[in-house]
């Protein structure tokens, strides 16, 4: 072999044509496409609803509004046997009917007004809840007469009876339609009890046992449940 020929052969080995692998890949791809269509091509058919099915989820919502002064007005300077009525309206303002009604109370302040644990008898504030199917007619006159159908939905009990973790049921079942309302009267009473303060001593808020000069803050939480779930078919 001549040196020139030897050099040429060496160059050929060093510089392989770049087109070779590209061409091979191209041919391979073409074969794949051709055979691929043969293997996978087939008829298919589809059908769809031309009008999209509309789906909306409902909303369950309950709002509390004062009827008259309601809870916004302070209950002040209570004495034993005093009774204070407050009126509120609950409105189901969602898009779903509801059922049931519960009440839970969270409190801060003096336990002597809240917890009825005194050995001398009932001393803490008691609460009663009445419901009227229509609006209370005269909330400013004390009892706020209910035209008809008054129902006591919570019998009298100390405030502590409502402070558990589970709401107390006021109404079971009884569907409340969308935009329906429940008209409630909340009655707070300081039970009749005897206390004797000697020589003008004024109990401080820290004085235990007394119901005088005490204060508490009450948060009333009403709850309702969604209407019974349904199965509809059409």
């Amino acid at each position: 072999m001549t040196p020139a020929l030897n050099n040429a052969t060496t160059d050929d080995h060093r510089k392989r044509p770049v087109w070779k692998p590209l061409a091979a890949a191209g041919i391979g791809g073409a074969v794949l496409v051709a055979t691929g269509f043969g293997v996978f091509a087939s008829l298919s058919a589809t059908a769809n609803n031309t009008t999209a099915q509309q789906v909306d989820s409902g909303v369950l919502s309950l709002v509390l509004t004062n009827n008259g002064a309601g809870f916004a007005q302070i209950v002040d300077n209570l004495a034993p046997q005093d009774t204070v009525n407050r009126f509120v309206t609950l409105t189901n303002n969602g898009t779903l009917a509801s059922k049931d009604l519960g009440l839970r109370l969270t409190t801060t302040g003096s336990s002597s007004l809240i917890t009825d644990g005194n050995s001398t008898g009932t001393r803490a504030l008691t609460v009663t809840v009445d419901s009227c199917p229509s609006a209370w007619t005269a909330v400013t006159t004390g009892n706020g007469p209910c035209a008809s159908g008054l129902t006591t939905v919570l019998t009298t009990r100390p405030l502590s009876g409502l402070t558990g973790t589970t709401p107390t049921t006021l109404i079971t079942g009884d569907t409340l339609a969308v935009n329906g309302q429940r008209h409630l009267r909340i009655t707070l009473t300081l039970p009749n009890q005897d206390e004797n303060i000697a020589n003008g001593a004024t109990p401080s808020p820290d004085t235990t046992g007394t119901i005088q000069n005490q204060n508490a803050q009450l948060t009333w939480t009403f709850n309702q449940n969604q209407r019974t779930a349904t199965t509809t078919t059409s």
């Binding site: 298919s44 609803n49 909306d56 369950l60 709002v63």
Partner: protein, 216 residues
């Protein structure tokens, strides 16, 4: 240069023409003698060949998909009925259901609060007002599945063959799972399933039966 030498170096143009003419005449004469004879052919009646058609159509059975589902609540189940017709001349196979949604929200996700889709077939016909498969048998083609899963990947309803002309009568059931949510003073919690809406497009698809090789 002699005359013979001249013809060797420059052949006359007439010579090949003459030779070709003679050969052509001879070929014509002898050829006619060689190829003349009886011939026979066979011809079939025209073979009819027709291609098949593959078709599927969707029709509401009762209200079907045209009736909106409004104010659905946890625990609610809403059944709608549609009928698929494999209306082509070819048998089909592998019926699938795909789904698209106009909205992206909790209802059409894959979480615990998402709507569940169940597809059930009836061998006879559905009484759409009662949900009863009258005199027939039902088969669950798709167990309760979050809509998000069906949106992500079409679900196979019928893997096998569907005869040409066959009707597939379906109950499409949407259920909102039980869920605890508390709306406080009119404000729903974050991630709520309440007050949401979407529009759903169901796409049923099938492919032709397996290709065959026949001999007869």
């Amino acid at each position: 240069m002699t005359r013979g030498q001249h013809s060797t170096t420059r052949p006359s143009v007439w010579r090949p023409l003459g030779a070709a003419s003679i050969a052509g005449v001879a070929l014509t004469l002898t050829g006619s003698g060689l190829w003349a004879g009886l011939t026979a052919t066979a011809r079939s009646p025209a073979q009819q060949v027709s291609s098949g058609t593959l078709s599927i159509t969707l029709a509401d059975n009762g209200s079907g998909f045209t009736q909106p589902i409004t104010s659905i609540a946890p625990g609610d189940v809403v059944n709608r009925y549609v009928t698929l017709t494999s209306g082509g001349t070819l048998a089909a196979q592998r019926l699938t259901l795909g789904l698209t949604s106009s909205a992206t929200n909790t209802l059409i996700g894959s979480g615990a609060g998402a709507l569940r889709l169940t597809v059930t077939s009836c061998s006879t016909s559905w009484a759409t007002t009662t949900g009863v498969c009258t005199g027939g048998t039902t088969a669950t083609l798709l167990a309760a599945t979050p809509l998000g899963s069906v949106i992500a990947t079409p679900s196979v309803l019928v893997p096998g063959t569907i005869a040409a002309g066959a009707l597939t009568r379906l109950q499409i059931s949407l259920a909102l799972p039980d869920a605890d949510e508390t709306t406080t003073n009119g404000v729903a919690p974050a991630g709520s399933i309440q007050g949401l809406s979407t529009s759903l497009t169901y796409t049923f698809a099938q492919v032709q039966r397996t290709a065959t090789t026949t001999g007869s």
